[in-house]
């Protein structure tokens, strides 16, 4: 279960954002580059100093240790970073929850041997998919995705989209997805019954505009 509520969240470039996401709801965010989409996601994950309050299923963020919050509200940054030499050690010991790790990797197009691969030899696209696998293996209750398919070919893009859809369904995870691709936003809202928001003049507004 993961419902997310933002109240007057203030980042450097955006007007204060107030937003409610039901458990399992999909919200797609777009806007010109530099308009503060990534900063908004970083603020929700509490990576940058900012004002405003966030609740996860009614629990205020301030009542929770920051590292517990980040474990439950998972952010996938546009660029993935790795801190060990091999892929495997990046995954949590108790990975997967209901969805086991091999299933998760398989859904994103990898065999279990990928865990032995060296990070430095991964392609950009592989890194992006593995970063998503790493995040989902943490079993977060909310997903914050920043351009999750930017470097992927259509086949892998479809894999990522369906893996996220499956996760969102089984975990009832509210999902805030930043995407610059209008076709992807249309496709996902059509399939998943989500809504779209767009940043205009520093404000996050429902889209299409009335």
């Amino acid at each position: 279960m993961g419902g997310l509520r933002l109240k007057a969240l203030r980042t450097r470039v955006l007007e204060p954002v107030s937003l409610d996401l039901q458990a399992g709801e999909l919200v797609l965010v777009s806007g010109p580059s530099g308009s503060g989409k990534s900063l908004l996601l970083r603020a929700i994950a509490d990576l940058d100093p900012h004002e405003g309050q966030v609740w996860l299923d009614g629990e205020p963020r301030s009542s929770m240790a920051a590292h517990l919050w980040r474990r439950r509200v998972g952010l996938l940054p546009a660029e993935s970073f790795w801190w060990e030499d091999r892929v495997g050690p990046h995954f949590p010991e108790d990975a997967g929850g209901p969805q086991t790790l091999p299933d998760l990797l398989g859904a994103l197009g990898f065999g279990p041997e990928v865990l032995d691969w060296s990070v430095s030899r991964l392609s950009t696209g592989e890194r992006q998919r593995l970063a998503l696998a790493r995040l989902l293996a943490q079993a977060p209750e909310v997903l914050l995705l920043d351009e999750a398919t930017a470097n992927l070919d259509p086949a892998n893009r479809d894999r990522v989209e369906s893996a996220v859809a499956r996760y969102r369904g089984t975990h009832a995870a509210a999902t805030l997805w930043v995407s610059h691709d209008p076709e992807q936003r249309e496709r996902l809202t059509a399939q998943g019954g989500g809504r779209q928001l767009m940043i205009r003049d520093g404000r996050l507004e429902p889209w299409p505009w009335a």
Binding site: A45, D46, L47, F81, W83, H90, P92
Partner: protein, 267 residues
């Protein structure tokens, strides 16, 4: 064997060698002749002044004066340690982290050595305290400066991986652990190297001094060993403290990496 006193004439003879060096630099267009002369003049003035100050201090054995001298040495060491860091903390932290760590470690080890090991009476007798403190601070200064420099630089360069670990639910201590380990290691390497080659290549300065002043070599060696152990403990403790305080200050109460607290990023 007694102490052979140097006359001003003896020193003047040695200084001719420095003048020759400066002349050679001019002759070979090295462009450092002027700097050599200025550095030689500086060291002459500084050492003479220190000699005078210590002479007065030794005659008085006044705790206030000793404390004043110690404080002066500490503040210079703190400033120097700050200068040697490329990405130091902004504001008072830039000076404070290094100075506090050096203060705690050097004075802790110093008081322990004077009261328990050497057992000087009174313990603040300047003839023992000032030279010991000087050696402790000098080494702690290098260790702390290198460790802090490596810590802040490492955090700056590893922002991506550190934040990735935070996003994976790590605590700030887990996220900075590898940077911290590298910082401590680099702070400790010089003193470990100094201990492992001590006596093989060159005689340590203090031992040389004691031998020149007429001490039996075994006594000089024992004193040198004592000092080395004290210096290692002081440097190690100083580096550990500095890295601990420094890495804590790299994160805020919400465990966010705060590189804006370092110099070099325009907020």
């Amino acid at each position: 064997m007694g102490l052979i006193l140097l006359s001003p004439f003896d020193l003047a003879l040695a200084s001719v060698l420095v003048l020759l060096l400066a002349a050679m630099s001019w002759w070979l267009h090295l462009g450092v002749g002027r700097r050599v002369l200025i550095a030689a003049a500086r060291s002459t003035v500084q050492l003479m002044l220190v000699g005078l100050v210590l002479k007065v201090l030794f005659e008085q054995t006044h705790p206030g004066l000793v404390a004043l001298m110690a404080l002066f040495m500490l503040s210079v060491a703190g400033f120097e340690a700050m200068q040697r860091q490329k990405r130091r903390f902004r504001g008072p932290w830039g000076y404070g982290v290094g100075s506090v760590s050096m203060f705690v470690s050097s004075f802790g080890v110093l008081v322990l050595a004077l009261t328990v090991v050497i057992r000087v009476e009174p313990w603040y007798q300047p003839q023992y305290l000032i030279p010991l403190l000087g050696m402790l601070l000098g080494n702690a200064m290098s260790g702390v400066a290198i460790a802090l420099d490596s810590l802040t630089r490492g955090a700056w360069d590893a922002r991506g991986p550190i934040e990735a670990r935070l996003l994976a639910g790590a605590t700030w201590e887990q996220a900075i652990a590898s940077v911290r380990r590298d910082a401590l290691r680099s702070g400790l390497i010089p003193i470990v190297n100094a201990m492992s080659t001590a006596g093989l290549v060159n005689l340590p300065g203090m031992m040389t001094g004691q031998i020149l002043a007429g001490s039996p070599p075994m006594e000089a060696a024992k004193y040198q060993l004592l000092i080395m152990f004290l210096i290692s403990a002081g440097t190690g403790l100083g580096a550990v403290l500095a890295v601990w305080i420094g890495s804590r200050h790299l994160f805020d109460e919400r465990e966010r990496l705060r590189l804006d607290r370092l110099k070099g990023e325009e907020a």
